[in-house]
Symmetry: C2
Subunit: 407 residues, 2 copies
């Protein structure tokens, strides 16, 4: 894909954009200002929805967002009417300071559920963040840091893409998410800005497509958050249209997929307590829906995740996870291999088991399972469906982090 | 329920029944002989099915089982044609020794997937088990022990039930299951015998009803096994019919539910690495399907399970788990409380949050979360649906046990 080039600097690659981040203890505030942007977002499908999600769903209806306010440390979820008032207070604060109409401000929160927002401290950090707005690489990094909760590293990605007509635009994004990460959005917040010109309804279509192959294909623990938000803005600073004949440019869509997959993989790699990264590739499934079921089932299995942590080549757990995923399969023709980027070994080849005890296959598998990157490849040999899902191992630290989170 | 009385002694309470168990290292063999029994069974819904499950599905079609052979230490799953031959070898061995027709023998396995059956050692342990058949309490206990894998204690239950016509019959059962326990059967094996007279098709109906409120309502890790089997035999030793007018006696059904719930709770309490037992009761759901979704979602949440391990009253994770379960809910009228058998405290009452920080509600909740038994009660206030699900905490030891299982 020669039309996509990686860039350094996160949001700083986009013109007419200012970002900032500030933090006091566990409370962080990230602000993204991209005036006059068209915008769309996808949200959690949890039936319990945080106040800021409700607020932003309403704000984004007009397809126009100029600023995003994000706080970490408190989810502002299950906080009743007060929670909604707190959203208004914070939006009001941003609106006054930046002279942006309230209905062009989105708000997003991540943290503990069912605790009143500590509005005083969050307002204080908000003012500090506002005072630091800028368009340098360090501003983007500060923004990526301020939204972190149990994340261990900030997550940014920026690309330049050459459209089919030869013109170039840029896309940049930041994300957070570490626990409560499940298919159909976890506690993940992702904010993406492009300098292309795209109407809000086309952003919506492109973002949904990209989320389906990226954020919706990672699982850390199967718990789905009440606050997930992936919001994308297009500020048009490049004056380049990314829509041809009423469709998003195919290169732009590829680049957006690439960026979202990069951010999603960073989330999986930084899953709570993770020491290893898991990729499951399923080929030859009956259809792509089946391939998704199978690949997600593998990276979601607590048993396989524990085996990866321990470096135990217990590949029967892969078989079992595919079996209960609900996808069509025929054990007599399936091929299963594992790889680590250097070696790849077949465990089962067209239904024939190779990795019995005391075989070189199992010995090589043991070595691969020690790697920091464990790749599972499945060929179902049933059709054309394929999908990739990403996850991480289940570790003592996952339990530790989540046994101690609020106290 | 005065018509149900607990009995000691497991299978020893049933006449015309012999059981035994023997073990060598990780390989155990349990044998249950109940000649001329009508029988039925429910099996895993995993699409990958172990050889013994395929074998027993066929054997039980005629509704008649006289003996059950069970081995632990190897699942005989994903073992190709050889796996099926190994089933035949073992059934042949039992058939010759006990002079029971081969088509009246069921076989069941639990252990590692994708490894050839070590047929020599299992045959040897089988002969040892055969030599120990008896009808004492110690025989039943040995049988319950020999099917254990990572279980930490043997699981038996026996009851006497007074039917609606005043006559009494007995039901006894053993079970194992510790990891790979999920709704719709985990790696759980359960064997139940009654001395009542019941045709196989009625056993089937009664067993499905009982499994739905017991084995299918426990979750340890959400991984569903390839080998699950719950098999029930009726040997008619009491000469008492447990069927009236073509329906299973209601008291008998209650007693069977009671026995299966007792066995299921023992499995949940002994979940791999568990230090605490969790019960989730959902009342007032739209319907019983919704109540099941919500209660299972709570006890399945890795985040809530970790919080229980840490004694952390992070009740927002309960809210989140109900939210993504897919059930109907209205946060404005829901009531959520937690209890430990001594104290019960409302966290949310009719939508109003009580358990904010520094409140006595949260302090009491903290204390309850330290208990060995954490009970979550939810009143959705939407309808008549109710359900109970059981599980356990997620601990360092769960990870440890599963990181080291095959190696």
């Amino acid at each position: 894909m020669g039309f996509i080039r990686n860039l350094d600097g996160g949001f700083s690659v986009i013109e007419n954009l200012e970002v900032s981040g500030a933090r006091e203890g566990k409370f962080g505030v990230t602000i993204i200002v991209s005036r006059g942007s068209t915008a769309s977002a996808v949200f959690t499908s949890n039936n319990v929805v945080a106040a800021p999600v409700k607020y932003t769903k309403k704000a984004i209806k007009n397809g126009r967002i100029s600023a995003v306010f994000v706080n970490s440390g408190n989810a502002n979820c299950f906080t009743g009417e007060q929670g909604f008032k707190d959203c208004e207070t914070l939006v009001e604060l941003i609106s006054r300071d930046l002279k942006i109409p309230k209905d062009e401000i989105a708000i997003s929160s991540t943290g503990v559920i069912g605790r009143e927002m500590p509005i005083d401290i969050i307002s204080k950090v908000a003012y500090e963040s506002l005072s630091k707005l800028g368009n340098k690489a360090e501003n983007s990094l500060a923004a990526a840091r301020a939204i972190m909760t149990t994340d261990t590293f900030p997550k940014e990605c920026a690309v330049e893409v050459t459209l089919t007509n030869g013109e170039t635009v840029k896309i940049a994004g930041i994300t957070k998410g570490s626990g409560m990460i499940a298919p159909n959005m976890g506690t993940m917040l992702s904010f993406i800005v492009t300098d292309a010109v795209i109407p809000a309804n086309q952003i919506n279509k492109a973002l949904k497509k990209a989320a389906d192959v990226s954020f919706n294909m990672i699982v850390v623990d199967g718990d789905e958050s009440t606050n997930d938000t992936c919001l994308m803005m297009a500020n048009g600073a490049s004056d380049v249209e990314a829509v041809n004949d009423g469709e998003v440019d195919v290169n732009f869509q590829e680049a957006l997929n690439y960026l979202c997959i990069d951010l999603a993989k960073k989330m999986a790699r930084d899953g709570e307590g993770a020491t290893k990264f898991i990729e499951a590739n399923v080929f030859g499934a009956k259809d792509s829906e089946d391939a998704k079921l199978a690949s997600k089932s593998i990276i979601s299995s607590s048993l396989f995740k524990s085996a990866v942590f321990g470096g135990d080549p217990n590949w029967g757990r892969i078989v079992s996870a595919i079996g209960y995923s609900g996808c069509d399969l025929n054990p007599d023709i399936i091929t299963i291999s594992i790889a680590d980027g250097e070696d790849e070994v077949d465990l089962v080849r067209k239904g024939e088991i190779l990795a019995f005890e005391n075989t070189p296959y199992l010995e090589r598998a043991e070595k691969i399972m020690q790697s920091k990157n464990v790749i599972v490849n499945i060929d179902m040999d049933l059709g054309e469906g394929q999908a990739t899902a990403w996850g991480c191992d289940l570790t003592y630290d996952y339990v530790k982090i989540n046994a101690e989170y609020t106290t």
